[in-house]
């Protein structure tokens, strides 16, 4: 049974063109005898427009090619966020995938697949840790791309699954603005394809102008580059491994494609070296891939009970795995195999107890000099791996690590508003110097002191809101 509009569209097939079209075609092109010049006024306008376009293009080229500058808040921070929902074909089975692109970062969606033609109905509650929440700038625009017929989006409150809805954006036909209050959310995206629906969850941390360094000094990094012959590289610590590319295609246009295959003879999955990485280490994904489906196969396993790369992490169970990745780029696609040895040793920073996580403070003194009463408050909050707050004027944030009573702060960033009077900017400068070069801290029930070679910062517990 078809719909009415389809029947009507079919009726167009009854229309026929005139009989003399072919005769006219045989008489040769009519519109290419050399275009006559447009009127003088039109030519002047066209010239001016061309000049303006030339200037604009020069501007864009300069922006693209100028030497990189350290990104700080207030300069050029408007990351647009694009969720790409696509189907990848693997072993004759179509898999729904979701990736989130934020600037040059790629985040895979942890998902539950629902009502999928080849999989039936599967519901797997997503499982997040503190480190999974991706910092996003509040007010960013979220848009959708890919091959889904439509995409529904909703912000939810993290907690017990199923999560509570905060706001539903409905169908993402146009970009929507993430201008909810700062805090942690789960971005729930449901893609609708002809084959079925699939839902993906991205834990995000909306920050008010504070941005957004890579939080993961300890992460393993998977980098994809999709030029003529696509590549995948896995980096961890000093180790690096190139992915074994078994198939790829690269199309210059719709009729000129290069296809490559590697015929491996040692069974499936193919033999690869195994890069040692602590079990549970997070995977950061970089490069220009537009869709990724990843799967860990335990070594020797022929494909049964594989471990999906959900949550972007090395498997928690130590052992050897082969990581199979099906990746699409704008003009190419490829399948890669990489070997990973998930080791039981985890980094000390993960094992050590972080006493600072979850605490909130207010600056009390700098090098023993108390902050004047009535001054704009300077705050400091800690999550498991990030610190941040307000310096009296601007928001700031940075990833940090502790080991015992040692502390190290990297990738410090802040907004860049100017505030005058009351010594606000001077205190902010001392705060940044103290935090940037901090080496140790001392924590009591009612005081936190952070010490660097040049500065000592003393904080008192923040008043409850």
């Amino acid at each position: 049974m078809t719909e009415r509009w389809q029947d009507e569209v079919k009726r167009l097939g009854d229309l026929e063109p005139s009989d003399d079209i072919w005769r006219r075609a045989e008489q040769g092109p009519q519109g290419e005898t050399g275009p006559s010049l447009p009127p003088r006024r039109q030519r002047v306008v066209a010239g001016v427009v061309a000049f303006v376009v030339f200037l604009a293009a020069g501007g864009f080229a300069w922006r693209a090619l100028r030497p990189p500058v350290e990104r700080s808040v207030g300069s050029d921070l408007d990351p647009s966020i694009v969720v790409i929902l696509r189907i990848l074909e693997r072993d004759g089975v179509s898999l729904p995938t979701a990736t989130l692109r934020v600037d040059d970062r790629t985040i895979l969606g942890g998902g539950s697949t629902t009502h999928w033609q080849s999989a039936g109905t599967v519901e797997s509650p997503p499982d997040f840790t503190d480190g999974d929440f991706t910092p996003l700038q509040r007010g960013s625009l979220l848009g959708a791309a890919g091959d889904a017929e439509s995409v529904d989006a909703e912000l939810q409150q993290p907690g017990t699954f199923p999560f509570q809805s905060v706001v539903s954006f409905g169908q993402l036909s146009d970009a929507v603005k993430l201008d909810q209050p700062i805090g942690r959310y789960v971005l729930r995206l449901t893609g609708h394809w002809l084959q079925g629906n699939a839902t993906f969850y991205f834990p995000i941390d909306l920050l008010d102008q504070a941005v957004i360094a890579r939080p993961d000094a300890d992460a393993a990094v998977l980098t994809f580059v999709g030029k003529n012959a696509p590549t995948a590289t896995l980096d961890y610590g000093d180790g690096q491994q190139d992915g074994l590319r078994t198939t790829y295609t690269w199309c210059q246009d719709s009729s000129h494609c290069v296809q490559g295959t590697v015929d491996f003879t040692t069974g499936y999955p193919p033999a690869v070296d195994h890069l040692p990485i602590p079990a549970g280490t997070r995977l950061t994904i970089e490069g220009d891939a537009t869709a990724i489906a990843g799967i860990f196969r335990p070594k020797g396993d022929s494909g049964n009970e594989p471990v999906n790369v959900d949550g972007n992490a090395i498997p928690q169970t130590p052992g050897r795995y082969v990581l199979q990745l099906d990746v699409e780029f704008d003009q190419s696609s490829a399948t890669f195999f990489l070997g990973v040895e998930a080791t039981s040793a985890t980094p000390t920073s993960v094992q050590s107890v972080n006493e600072l996580a979850g605490s909130s403070w207010s600056l009390a003194s700098i090098d023993g000099a108390p902050v004047p009463k009535g001054a704009r408050p300077v705050t400091l909050q800690f999550t498991a791996d990030r610190l941040g707050g307000v310096d009296g004027c601007n928001s700031y944030g940075a990833p940090y690590r502790v080991d015992g009573t040692s502390i190290q702060v990297d990738g410090f960033q802040s907004t860049a508003m100017m505030c005058t009077g009351g010594g606000t900017m001077e205190r902010a400068k001392a705060l940044y110097e103290g935090l940037r070069s901090a080496t140790s801290f001392e924590l009591t029930t009612d005081q936190l002191t952070i010490t660097s070679p040049t500065t000592s910062l003393t904080f008192e517990p923040a008043a409850a809101p």
């Binding site: 049974m1 078809t2 719909e3 009415r4 509009w5 389809q6 009507e8 569209v9 079919k10 009726r11 167009l12 097939g13 009854d14 229309l15 026929e16 063109p17 005139s18 079209i21 072919w22 006219r24 075609a25 045989e26 008489q27 040769g28 092109p29 009519q30 519109g31 290419e32 791309a145 890919g146 091959d147 017929e149 439509s150 036909s173 002809l194 719709s254 009729s255 000129h256 494609c257 290069v258 296809q259 490559g260 295959t261 590697v262 015929d263 491996f264 003879t265 040692t266 193919p270 033999a271």
Partner: protein, 168 residues
């Protein structure tokens, strides 16, 4: 491990051997109907553009690798230029032409869609082409075709009503 790497370039032959007369018999009416929809029912533009696209195809046969998508893309471009030219000339509203009665309701609804949505809908549902082929003929990416088809379909469903559905 023995690795054997095979690469092959896939490129269609260039050539003057394309039989444009046969191509016109097979695909000319479909091309005309697509442009007819693309222009929102402008029979005159559709005929001029179809004739001109085939004329240029004949003239440049030696350099055309894959003639059918080439003809479509040329026809879309010419039709768009003509519509733009008319707008600049502030030509009278084109819809004063009489639509054939059997498609009058459809054409009225199609005019509520964008030209690319109209073309995508006609290629997908009148010519029954797969999305990849629609993309090839329109010279745009497959996901973009899906977006045009999805939005066009939703709009037509709204305008013409539906009486359900089992093939989607």
């Amino acid at each position: 491990m023995m690795l054997e790497v095979e690469e092959r370039a896939v490129e269609r032959d260039r050539g003057s051997s394309h039989d444009f007369a046969q191509l016109f018999r097979d695909d000319g009416p479909g091309l005309w109907r697509t442009i007819y929809a693309f222009t929102g029912g402008r029979r005159d533009i559709a005929e001029d553009v179809t004739a001109e696209a085939f004329a240029r195809g004949l003239a440049y046969a030696d350099t055309i690798r894959d003639p059918l998508p080439w003809l479509y893309r040329t026809a879309f471009r010419l039709a768009q230029e003509e519509l733009r030219r008319e707008r600049r000339r502030r030509a009278p509203e084109p819809w004063d032409q009489q639509d054939p009665p059997e498609v009058a309701g459809l054409m009225q609804a199609l005019r509520e869609l964008s030209p690319k949505q109209r073309a995508a809908i006609v290629l997908r549902y009148e010519a029954d082409l797969p999305v990849a082929e629609v993309a090839r003929r329109m010279g745009i990416a497959q996901p973009t075709v899906r977006v045009h088809v999805h939005r066009g379909r939703a709009h037509l469903r709204e305008l013409l009503g539906d009486n359900e559905v089992d093939d989607d």
